[in-house]
Subunit: 274 residues, 3 copies
């Protein structure tokens, strides 16, 4: 890829707009009107209405898989039309464009963060701005201008106090026991917990109590247990997931976001897990 | 953008095909086989089966946001296989390709309409035409040929009597009172009425009776009322919408398309509203 | 199209990932990181979780409509993480990339099959391969490398024993009667049977018994019967479909995949149907 001309950045879209209205398509029309060469990728439009946590996690696990320079737009925006700010966040490898409601807090962990600006220069918005659809009127045109090479600093003043989303982390309750929880449930009913791969990788044994069921070890794959059995494994997100082979853990154990998971870690070589 | 080569037009797709079958993808395969550079945008595939009114409104509010030259294909086609005609409608800024069932009537209001042709020259269709999937066999190839620069007049003879969809408009029932109705319900449960921004902009006060509830004024944004409260505002579509903040107006008041809305307008400076 | 430079192939995606998680978008990020010019088409992400038969049929009816050289990726993969192989199948007009679970058996019928390789060279995968998301870690990067021109033979050793999916075919139970079944139900509730156009084209009369109802002939189009009536016709898939005009045959007669359909064929000119 050396010696090639710089490529037009990719713009990804994450919204709670669903796919039964023209809202996402209209955003694409606006983008292509400003940046005709933009390559637009739908990242996730199935976020539940206003679910900032799900959008934050969906974005967090996605950005590392996109090429350098990608512009990620998130429109999950229950405060649209209020005085909430809008942001562009420049990281080393990408730019995040979103309302200032914490939806990018997790993705910013991939850092380092170079700059955060408050979107205020209306020259980069549509001429008419509605009270309810800033995805169309603000975020899409801003992303398109970034895609065409507009310097992020021109979009508005720098800020250093973005709204932070409290990121879920397991809490230690005993020497070897943590109170964890489910942070995301996917289409298959896999329940992703806030227990990271790093946390369990140092343990000789991992036991989980979830929905009244003890899972006695992490599995290597879904296929390691019989059909319909509960298992836990380090999922593709880098977090421990609770699953049912060829079934839905969420349905089988009535789990949802926030469901408690007790995690017991046995130390390796007598070393405490930390 | 001056002095650049003309760009390949965008093709947008609006259908009632949903996203759980390969029908939309197959249309894209056909388009790319004929016009490999086409940029295809999904506008809305979540139209309820055969719901011409919803498709008409979805298209109407979308076309103004696409660049000049865009080709909009609509396949909501309960009469497929019958003797209904198929159309290409050339407007100043775009071309509409659809069955002749009124689904483009509203979008034609953005006019001016230059030409309407009946799609009859089979040279621009697939060789084999099925009885049930003209999206694949007629509309996709026609759009692709237009995208490659085929003159619209070559697709078939001009006509001047397209099927018209009756566009909903509030009816005056008293000097200051109109009988309006809900014309579209979106994913969030926002109920879009046929009361236009122009109609309410001249009034000093707007009161709405919907689902047994009086809304005493238009709000500036969702955030202007407490969570769970009913409000009305001029939405991003340019029409008055009934909403519930962080909730669904459709669910809360059991509203659907066609639900009646009484609209009372108080004149400004003693001038009647018209 | 003569004398033009060879085009970047299209990559299509068929999965059971749905559209409410970022999984499909992440695959696109991986593809575009390796093959920035790839044109990616979503073929079908609404396959029911693990439904190999539906995915196989969806792919089978789609591949003929894509340009030569298209790469079709299918990730319906209940055995992910087990010892099941992964395949790339080179046909005359396209390449299929999928787990070795029979999901490409039907599409291979479009043949001829030139070569089947087992994906084993990790140089064409992501560096880290998870236990649960080979769409991201194996299939997306392999497709992207093929798109950039990597020779299929470099992906792994040739094999000749892919897992076969048993393809449904009507069974003769009397001289003029076949036991057929529903093989796919689409969004509209159309029930596609395994009765091919070729099978009925030689008959002077076709009668079908389905859900307790006799359909006495094939119709030419949906519009040939009154609203709400059951009909059968040769659908756009090339198979006989059971439909209800402006309704859902699946709902009206409680039909699903596997539902039995009795097919009685009357010979033409006294010749038996075969």
């Amino acid at each position: 890829m050396d010696n090639e001309a710089p490529r037009t950045p990719i713009i990804t879209l994450t919204t709670d707009f669903g796919t039964t209205d023209p809202y996402v398509g209209i955003m694409k029309g606006v983008i292509l009107g400003i940046a005709p060469d933009a390559r637009i990728v739908d990242l996730n439009h199935g976020i539940a209405a206003g679910d900032i946590g799900a959008a934050a996690f969906s974005l967090f696990r996605s950005t590392p898989y996109f090429p350098e320079g990608t512009i990620h737009v998130v429109v999950v925006d229950p405060g649209v039309g209020s005085s909430r700010r809008s942001l562009a966040v420049e990281l080393d490898r990408c730019v995040l464009v979103a309302p200032d409601n914490g939806v990018v807090t997790m993705a910013m962990k991939h850092g380092p963060v170079r700059r955060i600006v408050s979107l205020e220069d209306r020259a980069y918005w549509l001429d008419a701005v509605s009270r309810t659809f800033h995805g169309r009127d603000v975020f899409a045109p801003v992303a398109a201008h970034l895609c065409r090479g507009v310097e992020i600093g021109r979009l508005g003043p720098e800020i250093d106090d973005p709204v932070a989303w409290e990121i879920s982390e397991p809490q230690r309750v005993e020497a070897d026991e943590w109170a964890a929880r489910v942070i995301y449930v996917d289409r298959f009913g896999n329940c992703i917990t806030d227990i990271s791969e790093a946390m369990v990788s140092g343990a000789s044994r991992v036991q989980l109590l979830v929905g009244g069921t003890w899972v006695q070890a992490l599995s290597e794959s879904y296929a390691a247990v019989p059909d319909g059995s509960v298992l836990a494994l380090v999922g593709s997100s880098g977090f421990v997931e609770i699953s049912v082979r060829n079934g839905s853990a969420a349905d089988a154990m009535a789990l949802g976001v926030g469901a408690p998971v007790t995690c017991r870690l046995s130390p390796r070589n007598g070393q405490p897990c930390s």
